[in-house]
């Protein structure tokens, strides 16, 4: 239905009401009164009383989680950020270090690189969306086999599902580490994670591919009522620490010494030499 109202043309009331004003739904600093976040006084209610990750989730979602969920997030941050400069985002940190970029620019640049389709943080959007949709279908009677085989792209003869299989290696050492944390923190295996395990089992049995940490996270976080977009927001700085580590490693060495390239280390496959035509 079209609800175009021609009397809206050049009507600027909406913007006029907002000129020179900020209307925050999140909080702010009331000078002389305090600093507030979602109704909490940050100095009185948080500092020394909650963990940083609790506040991270509050700012990202508007909900202050229990300490055990924040501790789970703290652990998964450790799992997802390593000091290995072969990982693409980390290599940006290392390259920034060898160029003597500032640590902040390097860490931001590497972190920004994980806003990517192939790896990093953005795939959580698809990972959580998949398991939440799959769970709805499962509840409606669809089998695990049907979930795996229907609607997913097939690559090299295997279904391509976000959260299952990973580049470079098969299997994921982060999952057993997080399984221990999950248990220690008193969480049980919820319905989404349980389905994720079933999909893992099916893929392992039929395609020799299994769940990766994205799949585990997606199942667990879905059981905690977190939406795909919320997970994207919570984990926006997920890889920062590993990028910083790789930056520091090269920043403290001779400049321009990280993976140096000779001219012929880049293969040129373009046009042959030619004269510039008259303009």
């Amino acid at each position: 239905m079209r609800i175009t109202a021609l009397n809206t043309i050049n009507n600027t009331d909406y913007w006029d009401q907002r000129r020179g004003k900020i209307i925050s739904s999140k909080g702010g600093w009331k000078i002389g009164q305090g600093v507030f976040s979602h109704g909490y006084s940050m100095m009185d209610d948080f500092v020394g009383k909650t963990s940083y990750m609790q506040v991270v989730m509050l700012n990202a979602t508007g909900r202050l989680p229990e300490r055990n969920l924040a501790d789970w997030l703290d652990a998964i941050f450790i799992c997802l950020s390593w000091p290995d400069p072969r990982i693409w985002c980390n290599q940006i940190g290392a390259l920034a270090g060898t160029t003597q970029t500032s640590v902040m620019a390097a860490t931001c640049a590497g972190t920004l690189a994980t806003d990517a389709r192939a790896y990093g943080v953005r795939p959580l959007l698809d990972g959580l969306a998949f398991i939440q949709k799959a769970f709805q279908e499962f509840e409606a009677g669809t089998s695990v086999e049907e979930i795996v085989l229907s609607g997913n792209r097939v690559r090299k003869g295997k279904p391509e599902i976000m959260g299952y299989a990973r580049p470079i290696a098969k299997g994921d050492e982060r999952i057993p580490a997080m399984e221990c944390v999950t248990k220690q923190l008193g969480f049980s295996i919820g319905k989404h994670l349980s389905l994720a395990y079933s999909i893992d089992e099916y893929l392992t049995c039929h395609y020799d591919e299994g769940m990766n940490i994205n799949g585990y996270m997606s199942g667990f976080l879905s059981d905690q009522g977190i939406t795909p977009e919320e997970s994207y927001r919570i984990f926006s700085s997920l890889v920062a620490s590993g990028v910083t580590a790789c930056y520091v490693d090269t920043r403290d060495k001779i400049p321009n010494s990280f993976l140096p390239l000779r001219c012929d280390d880049i293969v040129y496959e373009g046009k042959s030499v030619r004269a510039v035509p008259e303009n």
Partner: protein, 274 residues
């Protein structure tokens, strides 16, 4: 930490990674006595020293992305576009990000990355260019009036804020973007103008009575479409075009005190929790 689950057993894949990166854009020929030093650089086969003596910046920019030097009318169109959109203006959020960085005495080398990151957004910014180019490439096969009618029939104008009927087209502050309109009217008459610009001009004119028209992103997308740029390059080209203005506004603030820009007082800062 040993888990019996298969997913916990980690083994390296036998994927084959390239030993060296490959490019079709740039060739660096090593010095005879030092393989790390380039003695000659070529862009798509053209010697850089010859290019810098015989060609303009715009020619070489086009060459980088298209692989060939532009015809004179193509170069003129691209150069005019780059002048037209050299500055998103001091009210654009990306420019304001640059100005915030400048006034805060952020390292000047970081002003542009900050501004360009902000300009990556999908609303009146580089992030919408690819979608806009794909829209133009698809829709220009049929009359603009037909597309406009189809889109208007199912249009639901938002109750608040602007209405974008398609990527690159819509209203600004509930009106028509007059600068983009004027620029498009100039560009469409240039010899290098192609189907996308002309189609976009028709489309924008059809939207006039709805209070909508060209957006800056639409004009840039149309020119890039006519010049044969790939949609995936469009966001970056838009950022390149906008970069001078963004940086100029940012660095203009760098010598001013922090009080030289507004700081909203508490009376005009309200917290309204949902």
């Amino acid at each position: 930490m040993n888990s019996p689950k298969p997913s916990a057993q980690v083994s390296k894949r036998d994927d084959v990674y390239a030993q060296r990166s490959v490019t079709r854009i740039w060739q660096e020929l090593p010095a005879e006595d030092n393989a790390y030093i380039a003695a000659q650089s070529r862009c798509h086969g053209y010697d850089l020293m010859a290019l810098l003596q015989q060609r303009s910046f715009v020619d070489v920019l086009y060459l980088l992305f298209r692989g060939e030097l532009p015809e004179p009318e193509e170069a003129a169109l691209l150069e005019t576009l780059m002048v037209a959109f050299i500055n998103p203006g001091p009210r654009h959020p990306a420019t304001r990000a640059a100005m915030n960085a400048g006034i805060g005495k952020t390292d000047p080398a970081l002003i542009l990355p900050i501004a360009l990151t902000t300009l990556s957004g999908k609303y009146n910014a580089a992030g919408s260019l690819e979608e806009c180019m794909r829209f133009l490439r698809k829709q220009q096969r049929k009359p603009a009036q037909v597309t406009a009618r189809q889109l208007l029939e199912k249009l639901e104008r938002p109750a608040e804020g602007d209405c974008h009927i398609a990527a690159g087209f819509g209203s600004v502050y509930n009106g028509i973007d007059l600068m983009s309109k004027q620029i498009a009217e100039h560009l469409v008459q240039m010899p290098g103008a192609g189907t996308a610009l002309k189609w976009g001009q028709d489309f924008a004119q059809t939207l006039t009575k709805e209070g909508m028209g060209w957006l800056a992103t639409g004009v840039v997308a149309a020119v890039l479409t006519d010049l044969g740029f790939q949609p995936r390059t469009a966001a970056g080209i838009y950022q390149i075009i906008s970069a001078p203005g963004l940086f100029a506004h940012g660095v203009e603030m760098a010598n001013k005190p922090m009080t030289a820009m507004p700081f909203i007082d508490d009376e005009n800062y309200s917290i309204e929790y949902d």
